[in-house]
């Protein structure tokens, strides 16, 4: 469990876990996100995290995709929705993301790099 009291998302093929780290929060993705409509599953989860991050004045969120083997375009859309919630915020409210990608999973470098282009200066990418 995390200090936000937010339940992890566990579906048949994917798990998304929220945990506390020393300088912020971490979201760990694993498995395959390939359901027909991921929005009702992930959008409310990301929204809860976003609201709590603002409430607690947290400035750093790490998104670790290194164990995520597949993500369909509808899943990418749910991440876009989260990230574009942060871009219009005033400077004092904004928080930063770090995206952790796995170089052995081909789509990650290309797809995740594009996410960082949506919010220049707000997202750092680490490829390992």
């Amino acid at each position: 469990m995390n200090s936000f009291g937010i339940d992890n998302v566990i579906t048949e093929k994917a798990t998304v876990e929220l945990s506390d780290i020393s300088n912020g929060m971490k979201v760990t993705f694993s498995g395959d996100i390939d359901v027909q409509n991921p929005e009702p599953i992930f959008v409310p989860f990301f929204e809860q995290i976003h609201n709590k991050v603002l409430e607690n004045n947290i400035k750093y969120v790490e998104l670790d995709f290194s164990k995520l083997t597949f993500l369909n375009s509808s899943g990418i859309k749910t991440l876009i929705k989260w990230i574009t919630k942060v871009t219009p915020l005033p400077v004092e409210k904004k928080y930063r993301f770090k995206i952790v990608a796995n170089s052995e999973i081909t789509w990650q470098e290309t797809s995740l790099k594009m996410l960082s282009m949506l919010a220049p200066g707000l997202i750092e990418i680490q490829i390992k």
Partner: protein, 160 residues
């Protein structure tokens, strides 16, 4: 009975009903199979991702039974052709044709970024991201053939 002795060009064809559960199975199969066939594992990943996105569309926008996927590896040209066929409505076919025209007309990364910005504002189920993603991640050419309510989407990967 006949068995091809010509193994110059590899070929795979699968036909099934428009059911979501087939998609992951076909994606995994293609990824495993192509990683043996093609020297570079990167292509197996990219092509199976593209197949998965196209099959999602074929299932989501099907107006009738029948989904067909075929993969054709033309070794002399060093190209791989991925085709996905389904039946669909006039409305979706119209959208598909204009989407593909838009995607092919711009620089892949710019088009994809623009589509991502648009997707953020969409409240319907669709993302309009799948085709732009394929083009951006593979640099492949996308083409559509229509015969009444039958649609064939082709992606051509230049394996060089």
């Amino acid at each position: 009975m006949e068995l091809f002795k010509n193994v110059e060009n590899g070929f795979i064809e699968m036909i099934f009903g428009p059911r979501w559960t087939y998609i992951a199975t076909v994606r995994t199969f293609l990824q495993n199979f192509l990683s043996i066939t093609l020297a570079d594992n990167k292509w197996a990943d990219v092509i199976s991702m593209a197949a998965s996105e196209l099959l999602e569309n074929a299932v989501k926008y099907a107006s009738d039974e029948g989904t067909k996927i075929s993969v054709e590896h033309k070794k002399d040209e060093n190209k791989l052709f991925l085709h996905v066929e389904n039946f669909s409505s006039k409305e979706n076919i119209k959208i598909l044709l204009s989407e593909v025209e838009q995607i092919n007309s711009g620089e892949p990364q710019e088009v994809y970024l623009m589509k991502m910005q648009e997707a953020a504002l969409r409240t319907d189920g669709g993302s309009q991201l799948g085709l732009a993603r394929i083009r951006y991640e593979s640099d492949a050419f996308i083409k559509v053939d229509v015969d009444n309510d039958l649609v064939k989407v082709t992606v051509v990967f230049d394996l060089k």
